[in-house]
Symmetry: C2
Subunit: 194 residues, 2 copies
Amino acid sequence: MQIPGHRLGDPELPRSLIDADAFATMKEVALFGDDDVAALRRSGPILEPQIEAVLDVWYGFVGSKPFLLAHFAHPTSGEPNGEYLARVRARFGQWIRDTAAARYDDDWLRWQFEIGRRHHRVGKNATDGATSTAIVPFRYLLPLAQPIVQTLRPFLAATGERVETVDAMQDAWRKSVLLQVTLWSSPYVAPDDF
Amino acid sequence: MQIPGHRLGDPELPRSLIDADAFATMKEVALFGDDDVAALRRSGPILEPQIEAVLDVWYGFVGSKPFLLAHFAHPTSGEPNGEYLARVRARFGQWIRDTAAARYDDDWLRWQFEIGRRHHRVGKNATDGATSTAIVPFRYLLPLAQPIVQTLRPFLAATGERVETVDAMQDAWRKSVLLQVTLWSSPYVAPDDF
């Protein structure tokens, strides 16, 4: 399935500022280990049939906050852009699969930086030809990790896994999202400071 | 008790880029509510007699990672700076108290931005007259939230509170740390992008 604008594996993406060794130190800091890789991969088949329901929750959250929905809306009329929302939603679903796959190779690192550019003024809107705000303000990027990981809980628990297993999957998601949001922040930060 | 370099409440600190209204939207995004304020305040008396033990764990973690300890060490000799470590440690202990106090007024916002400057090249080392690296790289700031909040768990549980109460305190700490790390990131990000 080809999802418009999904470029994981595209060799034409610019190189990542963070190479495999640097990412290894970030994983160490986040206490992210092989058990987290296993827990993420375990979550994949559990989440797969629920992806649209997860996206309903996440889109419902963004849609309920005008100061977030604004970044999917026309900058002057304030009218939400249905096509922009739909195209991002398809990629957001794929992001669930990609996060659960837990493959941290060079392609994945390049793709994280591309996701970051699409939140920042260097790249927002361009992929989808959207007319919207120039940038998602940095102040919201990291706090958004909380609703993403918190609302995932019932979906991770839906197949009746033991509480310890659900905890492990949610912890792994939390760490992965922290690491990803850090990489997505790159365009907001001077390279020498990153 | 006066802790050298602790400036919460100092009216001479520069104004925060984030005012009370902007911080309210950040709290909304992080799902941080009155229940979290209550849970943080409940954690204060539990953690107070354990602060040195918590700091032992956190310093043990930083000390075990050469690429983190480097930011408390001489930039060429690599020798850890005991005085710098000790002065930061005293403020780190007070940070536990301040986080548990959960008072988000203008003084607190100003102080968060000052904490951020002390990680970035605009202000690192100056408070303590230390000779060390110029900056804590952005890539580690957010991942550090994980060990901080994860290792707090047994300390929050030490007085035998119910699991639900410990969960609530840990969740509140997690959200508070996410919000604080966001504010600390400010010197790393252009004001228009923040």
